[in-house]
Amino acid sequence: MSVSTPAAPTFGHDVLRRLREIVGAEGLLSQREELLVYECDGYTIEKQVPDVVVFPTTTEQIVQIVKLCNELQLPFIPRGAGTSLAGGSLPVGGGVMIALTRMKQILEVNLRDRFAIVEPGLVNVHLTQRLKGTGYHYAPDPSSQGACTIGGNVATNSGGPHTLKYGVTVNHILGVEAVMPDGSVVTFGGPAEDTPGFDMTGLFVGNEGTFGICTKAWVRLTRDPAAYRTMLGIFETVEDATRTISNIIGAGIVPAALEMMDSGIIEAVEAAFHFGFPLDAGAVVLIEVDGLEVAVDQEAQTIMEICHSSGAREVRQANTPKERLLLWKCRKQAFGAIGRLSPSYCTQDGVVPRTKLPEILRLIIESGKRHNLRIVNVFHAGDGNIHPIILFDERDADQVQRVLHASDEILDACIELGGSVTGEHGIGVEKISFMSKLFTAADLATFLKVRLAFNPTGLCSPKKMLPTAGACGTEQPIVRTGVRAAM
């Protein structure tokens, strides 16, 4: 695809020299071909090459970079692993991209007080690996956990399959150290709970990089479950599957995870992993309960009964830990398997009340038909968090256009059904135009005031999340910057 955005303004040698003085020559990229890697994240529809990427290794270096940006009035944006599916790390405002991937230390693991202190560039799964055998784990497990960073998780308040029972990132963050947009360093919260004052940690999580740069996080460690029962419900139709999910929740059961895959995804995943999914099924639902050995069998039994009475063709149970892991691998790497179906895909992230799942799935199917697009579904059904994946070829401008229409249609339907346009991916640049559909002008004005308290100049992550200009508060036309680039 050709990138039609104007060439990045050449950064003055003086700026590059000063940045190099801070991070060293090995900590800076400024050549056009090197920068192309950073032109987008997991949301590939919009692209924008940053002017320069720096790789600080310490908080102090970030302080100096941010102070330099303030002095020269340059915008700056943090970036983790670039796995955002909403353009969260797209440098739409240009300027300096601060990549945090070299700050990846686990600074402390304190099991007695159930926390760890990590740097922002730490890959999520590396913390889990480090904790293996301790009896504790870090609960948020986004499907991209093999690549995504904890700093990025903090910025977007990431979820994952097990959030149904364990909550999302914010429920597991005790404190944050951040470099503020003016270059000062502030700590919110910490290893002790209930710091007097506002819950700044809670507010900071999910700021999408617009409040500053997380340089350290105190994360809560959670006790490992003693036992799991992992089941696979097989259904003739998507409707049967969603009705079952609704019945399980409606019965007051909160499993550890409740994930649905439709036939399109089953086909791709089966081709990739040969798990033995039935290719003629309309949908499968991965259900996991965890807890004490004495309790999980009873809970699993109840769930199986609900599955059967709601029309399941068959319910299988993972018999060994190896089988369970394979099942989860299939689920978590489902996105990767989609490459087999299509050259490009756009993952949507909507939420509806859980009882509205049958309705929204019906609307998704209709929307796919209307726009002549193939849409497959793999999602966090227990939370009502849908992920329709729209398959397309990004070289075909007409298809791209139809993808955008279908996406908008689906998200509008989520709003109509009482839901939201993002459950875990964030607003980024992709969904800015939906903010005014979800929120009133007064709501958005309040958000802006909150941002101004952190980020008064608007230099930090400009043009993100809110459909207004950062600094002066004047309304800007809602433009989806890179969409044009994709066409």
């Binding site: 700044m200 809670g202 507010l203 003693a226 939420v351």
Partner: protein, 422 residues
């Protein structure tokens, strides 16, 4: 409990609707700019710095509508003036609950407990209010309603103002409507208590319990004086022959019975003096008394300390040496302490609290005042020692309430300068 005696509460406004409240607040901001003191069930008027200026108490007493309760989605949307008892009763009909321990539930309102970030023993296993508020509507000081979050359990659109407003003591907006995520009511709840020779023995036990085969949802530690007060209140009996560790379990009857059995085996290795399982019929009463402990005391001053869980037993040792009666949510490093009756003036109280505050500051914590005579609050920092993020909180306050009309002077922000105001 002492109520503020100030003229601030001489005048009161009780809107019938959220819209009426918004109009009132807009008029106020545009004309007289009186200080507004949001009130719910009036169970926490003693909390925070005393109001020093006259103003208007704005009450949520009539904002009690249940907006939507789609029980099968396990969420509920209600107005903020609903009493916690009434909310609990509504949810109980669907075998659901908000699993937060709230004192004075027959008086406290949802908006009030959110403003104060109330909570108790269950926080160890079930989290705090911040984990359950998924949508919020408030009216800012200019009378403009704003909302954040929504009605679905997972949602990252916009900034999480639910978290910001939780615990903000009404200083950023008057909370008018809330959507909560709910949990099913478990089949059984049971308490097991073990007394030990010292707090140090309890610390060793807590360390071992980190890898217990069981999963307690509460870990409480009481000194004998707190234990006898709580037991008397609950008409149950608790061992008082030493510091006391209480573990609560919830779940299916079969599961909880297994946990009680297993944990007794684990505790035996730690040589407790006595182990008692609270009879089923007395369990509810005991929960209530544990929850009410921070408010019901007749003692002169009640504080709340937070610190690393691993240092909590040392802290209790230090506090009980001064006959302070203590309750700790030990898994979370939260301590509620009542000063003894012999403390009759602010100077003595401050003298007792200084070493305690110094101790918690070493371990990432702070010490705030839950309740004390108003006049003492000039000598004792109500909100503890300043935290590094307070200047930023001030900037948030300035953005959202630039005229400082909401609960002026009652929170962490510097005391107002009376001239030209009110």
């Amino acid at each position: 409990m002492s109520l503020p005696t100030l003229a601030a509460f001489a005048e009161e406004f009780t809107p019938a609707t959220q819209a009426e409240l918004a109009r009132f607040m807009a008029d106020n901001a545009a004309s007289r700019q009186r200080v507004l003191y949001p009130v719910g069930g009036r169970t926490a008027l003693h909390f925070g710095c005393p109001a020093v200026e006259p103003g208007v108490a704005i009450s949520t007493a009539k904002l009690t509508n249940v907006i939507d309760y789609p029980a099968r989605d396990m969420t509920v949307t209600v107005e903020s003036g609903i009493r916690i008892d009434a909310l609990n009763e509504l949810l109980r009909q669907e075998r659901q609950r908000l699993p937060i321990d709230i004192p004075q539930a027959h008086r406290a309102t949802l908006g009030g407990i959110i403003a104060c970030n109330a909570g108790g023993a269950r926080r160890f296993g079930l989290g705090t209010l911040r984990d359950y508020i998924i949508g919020i509507t408030a009216i800012d000081a200019t009378g403009t309603p704003f909302k954040a979050g929504g009605r679905v359990v997972k949602n990252v659109a916009g900034y999480d103002l639910c978290k910001l407003l939780n615990g903000s003591l009404g200083t950023l907006g008057m909370i008018t409507q809330v959507t909560l995520k709910l949990r099913p009511i478990p089949e059984t709840t049971r308490w097991l208590w073990a007394s030990f020779g010292s707090f140090q023995e309890i610390e060793t036990t807590l360390e071992k319990l980190l890898l217990s085969a069981t999963r307690p949802i509460a870990m409480e530690v009481l000194d004998p004086s707190a234990a006898s007060e709580i037991a008397a209140e609950a008409r149950t009996s608790l061992p008082t022959d030493g510091p006391l560790l209480g573990l609560a379990f919830e779940g299916g009857a079969h599961e909880v019975a297994w946990e009680l059995d297993t944990v007794q085996g684990e505790l035996k290795l730690r040589n407790p003096r006595q182990v008692v399982i609270t009879p089923d019929a007395e369990a509810d009463g005991l929960w209530n008394s544990l929850t009410e402990f921070e408010l019901t005391a007749e003692e002169p001053l009640t504080f709340k300390a937070n610190l690393l869980p691993s240092r909590t037993m040392e802290f209790l040792e230090l506090a009980t040496r001064e006959q302070i009666s203590v309750q700790a949510h030990a898994g979370n490093g939260i301590v509620i302490g009542h000063l003894p009756d012999r403390v009759t003036n602010a100077q003595t109280a401050a003298g007792l609290l200084t070493p305690l505050r110094r101790f918690v500051r070493q371990y990432h914590g702070n010490l705030t005042i839950v309740n004390s005579p108003e006049t003492w609050k000039q000598d004792i920092p109500t909100w503890g020692e300043p935290e590094p993020s307070w200047p930023l909180m001030q900037r948030l306050k300035d953005q959202l309430d630039p005229q400082d009309l909401l609960n002026r002077g009652r929170f962490i922000f510097p005391a107002p300068i009376p001239m030209d105001r009110g």
